[in-house]
Every structure is written in structure tokens, then in C-alpha cells.
């Protein structure tokens, strides 16, 4: 092992402290008995129990989950088909460049611009249909729009990685299009599809900006709830809620890591 300069080690520890100190603060005050203020009044878990009695929070949690699940399912299907369509057909280079640019838009523009354009577009569509009133359907549409791009990019890199040999072999053995897709491509693509879906799911859970712009009064999500609570004045419940969300994040990250490393070894 290379010996490391003490300065590198010191900066690294400080950087990690810089990342975790604020989060640790939230976790500590989530188990503080004091109702107001930031003075330590002893250990308690009552704020966590109160979370489950708070209808607002339960509803926001339900909305967050519903939004993430629905948008992820749709985006994964659409994104996977899009990736196959872009990678496995002899498009002219101009066509494929054009498709590539469209696909990269959600990745390379600030999300607030996507959010603003959706607000305006939904505002005009509202004249045609009341579905486009601010609310969960709008949020789902917004989330799918950026998720598709990420799913398609992840699945496409997997398509490139598996190459053409297996498909050629299947064709030689007289596989039909449908059989090839079902029995050859989808199983080979599955790790990519799952990785893409997990990315899409986490992006949805994490999103604040798109939801903030497209949400209606009935469709609060947890990040929106926390943001609103900070401006109203924070209660210890918010600390408990934030800590719980952080714990869920840690679990998701560890599971995802396990999954991807398991597949890298294959």
C-alpha cells in the first residue's frame, strides 16, 4: 500500500466531518426531550412515536411512495424500450445524434428550468382538461420525464456491454423477434433494468424542485412537508422525520451497493 501524506488524510477526515456534522446534529436533536429550542433535556423516542399519529406526515409519506412507485414503473418500461430502440437499430447518424441530445436534456439542464416549463405547459393544458390542475398526476408526469432519460442511459450502457453475440446465436437458432426479446434480451438486460429502476426510484424520492413546482394542496410529499415546516418553525418531530428518512436512505444505499457489486462479480 502507498503511504499517504498526512495532509491528505487530515483533509479527508475533515471533509467527511463536514459532510456528516450537520446530519449528526439533526439525528441528535431528534432524540432530545425538549419541546422547544436546542437545549439538551434528556433522551426520548417520543417524537418518533408521534410521527405515526400525525395524519399530515402519514399522508405525505403515502404520497411520496405512491409518486415514486408509479413514476418509476412507467419510466422503467418507457426508458427500457427507448434504450433498445436507440441502440439496436441502424439509425442514420443524424437521427441518433438528435435522439441522443433529447435524451441528455434532463441530465444537463438545471431541474428548475424543467420545472418552470412544466408549470407553464400544465397551465395551458388546464384549459383543455382538469387533470392538469396542480397535483399528483402532474407530479407523476414531471418525475417520469426526467426518470426516462436516466433509465434509458443506464439500460443502454448495459446493452452496449452485452454486445451482439448472444443475439446472433439466438437468431441462428431461429428465434423469433418476440422470443428473442423475452427469453434472451430481457434476462440479459435485467441487471441494467433493475439498476435503472433503482436510480429512478431514488431520484423520485429525492426530488424537491419538480414536486415543489407541480404539487397541489392535496399532494404534499415528505420533502415538501419538511421545507414548509422549516419556514413555519421547526418542531422536534421534523428532526425525527428527517432522521428516519436518512435511515431509509442509508438502507437503500447499502442494498443498492450490495446489488451492483454482486452483479459486477458475475
Amino acid at each position: 500500500m502507498r503511504r499517504q501524506h498526512p495532509l491528505i488524510v487530515a483533509i479527508s477526515y475533515l471533509t467527511m466531518a463536514f459532510l456528516y456534522l450537520p446530519l449528526a446534529g439533526v439525528a441528535i436533536f431528534s432524540v432530545n426531550a425538549a419541546r422547544r429550542g436546542l437545549v439538551w433535556k434528556g433522551f426520548t423516542l417520543k417524537w418518533y412515536l408521534k410521527l405515526f399519529e400525525n395524519d399530515w406526515i402519514l399522508e405525505a409519506a403515502w404520497n411520496t411512495l405512491l409518486l415514486a412507485v408509479i413514476s418509476t414503473i412507467i419510466a422503467t418500461v418507457l426508458g427500457t424500450i427507448l434504450a433498445i430502440a436507440m441502440d439496436r437499430f441502424p439509425w442514420r447518424s443524424r437521427t441518433s445524434n438528435f435522439l441522443d441530445i433529447i435524451l441528455h436534456i434532463p441530465v444537463v439542464i438545471p431541474d428548475i428550468i424543467l420545472a418552470a416549463s412544466l408549470v407553464v405547459a400544465f397551465g395551458l393544458l388546464r384549459m383543455a382538461s382538469s387533470i392538469f390542475e396542480p397535483g399528483l398526476p402532474n407530479m407523476i408526469i414531471g418525475h417520469i420525464t426526467f426518470q426516462i432519460a436516466f433509465v434509458a442511459l443506464v439500460v443502454r450502457s448495459r446493452l452496449v456491454a452485452i454486445g451482439s453475440e448472444v443475439e446472433e446465436a439466438a437468431r441462428d437458432l431461429f428465434a423469433t423477434n418476440w422470443y428473442l426479446l423475452r427469453k434472451v434480451m430481457l434476462p440479459l438486460l435485467m441487471p441494467g433494468i433493475i439498476a435503472g429502476a433503482m436510480l429512478a426510484f431514488t431520484l423520485s424520492l429525492d426530488d424537491f424542485v419538480i414536486s415543489f413546482f407541480t404539487a397541489g394542496p392535496e399532494s404534499q410529499t415528505l420533502p415538501l412537508f419538511i421545507f414548509a415546516a422549516v419556514r413555519r418553525g421547526v418542531t422536534p418531530q421534523i428532526h425525527a422525520l428527517s432522521t428516519l428518512i436518512m435511515l431509509v436512505t442509508v438502507i437503500l444505499v447499502v442494498l443498492t451497493e450490495r446489488f451492483t457489486r454482486h452483479h459486477e462479480k458475475e
Binding site: I11, F29, L38, F89, W91, D206, S242, M246
Partner: protein, 304 residues
């Protein structure tokens, strides 16, 4: 040039180009239709809205005008003020320094992690990934909490006279930078690490053997090799940092507004969509210019 209906072999299938493109278009259509409908079209609508007039009650009036852009450039009824341009400029500066500091901190961190033994290496890496995925509202709020007047950091700052006794360490530029850097640091560290892990150390040793200075070793042997990861990290940081509004909203207040807040205001309390659309266009142009400058200066830029 081949005839469109001549037979070709494609992934082991004997078929014609025409046939393939027909099937391809069928597969392409659902996803592309979605992106056209909810990404490209709304984008174009935003461009159009940026040149129409706001009605007295915030509705759109289809009278075309460049008023919104003039206002953004600072021309008002009472003469010229640089207020909005200042906010745009500040956003560029904040995004630039956020990216710079994130890069400066990420290099040592990446080398540190790459130098750990295999088992703990994954643990350290996971420790960087966790904040990456933690909700940004929570992370911004966490700074808001930790800089409160009751807690040691603000008290310490008060002792040194940076802030009055009993005041929080926000809203100000310092708090915005703290929040921004901690928000985006993992966005640089993770892609950069992918490059650092694959670094060919023999080139670094060769440079050292030839008596290259530390700086030259870095610029000649390490920087070119880590460029792919660094590029991704810079783009992943600079672009969202330009449009960030949660951090400046909580930690910057009205005194240190960024363009993200300004846009949000137009779509929220002010209900001035045309002006909001015009600012969004301004942000878009700045982002593209930033990426273009970087693309020229840096080498090939790869995203994702």
C-alpha cells in the same frame, strides 16, 4: 450507397434496412413521444411565454414583447439598475466556486479512499454515497440547524465578532457556500473516484523519477488520467448549482438571492410567468455558455 430494400444481416437477422427502421420507429415512439410532449414542447412553450405580457392578475396576455428581457437586463421605468444582473452574476460565481472547492476537496478524498485496504474502501465509499442520496431539503435544513445561535459554531463566530451575540450564522454568503459545497461535494467525489481508482501509478512514478515537481506531476501525470471522471463531476455540480434554490432560500435569505430563488418567486408569490420564463432562458443561456467554455478548455466531455 446501398439500396433501401437490399438484404442486410443485423444482429444475426437477415432483413432489410427498411424493415428494421419500421420496427425501430415503433419501439422508439412511446418514449420519444413522451419526451416530446413533456420535455421539448413545454420547453418551447416556455420560450414563447418569455415574450408575452403578464396581465393584471397574473394571467397571460398574448401580446408579444421583449419587456421581460429588458427588465432582466435592468431597464425599468426609472432607469437602469443592475439588480437582476447582479443575481445572475452571483449565481455564476457561486456555482463556479462551489465546483472549484468541491474539486479541491475531492482529490485528496479520492486518493485517501483509493489508498484504503479493500474492505474499508467500500465503507468509505458508501459514506460518500449516503449524503449523495440524502434528500437535499434535509441536508440544507441540517446546516440551518447546526448554524443556530444556541449551538457552538455560531457562538464561536460571535466570540470572534463575525456576527452579533445570539445571532444565527445565516443568512449570509458564508452559510450559502457551506450548504452548497456540502450539497455538491459527493457529486464530484464519486465520478472522480472512478477515475482515480483506475489510475496508472507507473506514470506518476515515472514523472517523479524524472524529477518533476509535485505540481507538474499532478498536471502532467494525474490530471489527464482523471479527466473523464473530473469532467462528469464538474458538469454534475456546475449545472444544478446554477439553478439551486433550496440552499439559498434557507441559508441566504433575501440578501443573498440566487437565480433559482428569483425564478421560484415569479412562479410563486409574484405570479409573473412571462418574467419567470425570461429568467429561466437567462439561466439556460448561462449554463450552456458555462458548459461550452468548459468544453473548449477541457478535452472531450462525457456525460453519464
Amino acid at each position: 450507397m446501398k439500396r433501401a430494400d437490399s438484404l442486410i444481416t443485423w444482429y444475426g437477422e437477415l432483413t432489410t434496412r427498411q424493415q428494421l427502421l419500421k420496427r425501430g420507429s415503433l419501439l422508439l415512439s412511446p418514449g420519444m413521444l413522451w419526451l416530446m410532449l413533456f420535455l421539448v414542447l413545454p420547453g418551447l412553450v416556455l420560450v414563447v411565454v418569455s415574450v408575452v405580457t403578464r396581465g393584471a392578475y397574473g394571467q397571460l396576455e398574448w401580446v408579444f414583447t421583449l419587456e421581460n428581457y429588458k427588465r432582466l437586463a435592468g431597464f425599468t421605468l426609472f432607469g437602469w439598475t443592475p439588480d437582476y444582473l447582479m443575481i445572475l452574476w452571483r449565481s455564476v460565481v457561486v456555482a463556479f466556486f462551489t465546483t472549484l472547492v468541491s474539486v479541491l476537496l475531492s482529490y485528496p478524498l479520492c486518493f485517501f479512499i483509493a489508498g484504503r485496504p479493500e474492505r474499508s474502501r467500500y465503507m468509505w465509499l458508501t459514506l460518500v454515497i449516503i449524503p449523495f442520496w440524502t434528500n437535499m431539503v434535509i441536508r440544507a435544513y441540517a446546516w440551518f440547524l447546526i448554524l443556530s445561535p444556541e449551538l457552538p459554531i455560531a457562538k464561536l463566530a460571535a466570540v470572534f465578532g463575525f456576527i452579533p451575540e445570539g445571532a444565527p450564522l445565516y443568512p449570509n454568503a458564508f452559510a450559502v457556500y457551506l450548504g452548497m459545497v456540502s450539497m455538491f461535494l459527493p457529486f464530484v467525489t464519486l465520478p472522480l473516484y472512478a477515475s482515480v481508482e483506475r489510475l496508472d501509478w507507473s506514470l506518476v512514478e515515472a514523472a517523479q523519477d524524472l524529477y518533476a515537481s509535485r505540481i507538474r506531476t499532478f498536471t502532467q501525470a494525474i490530471l489527464p488520467q482523471t479527466m473523464p471522471g473530473l469532467s462528469v463531476g464538474i458538469i454534475l455540480t456546475f449545472v444544478p448549482a446554477m439553478g439551486m434554490f433550496v440552499v439559498p432560500d434557507l441559508l441566504g435569505g433575501a440578501k443573498y438571492m440566487l437565480v433559482g430563488n428569483l425564478i421560484q418567486q415569479q412562479f410563486g408569490t409574484s405570479r409573473d410567468w412571462p418574467f419567470g420564463a425570461a429568467i429561466s432562458m437567462g439561466l439556460m443561456v448561462l449554463t450552456m455558455v458555462g458548459l461550452q467554455i468548459y468544453r473548449r478548455k477541457g478535452k472531450e466531455v462525457q456525460v453519464v
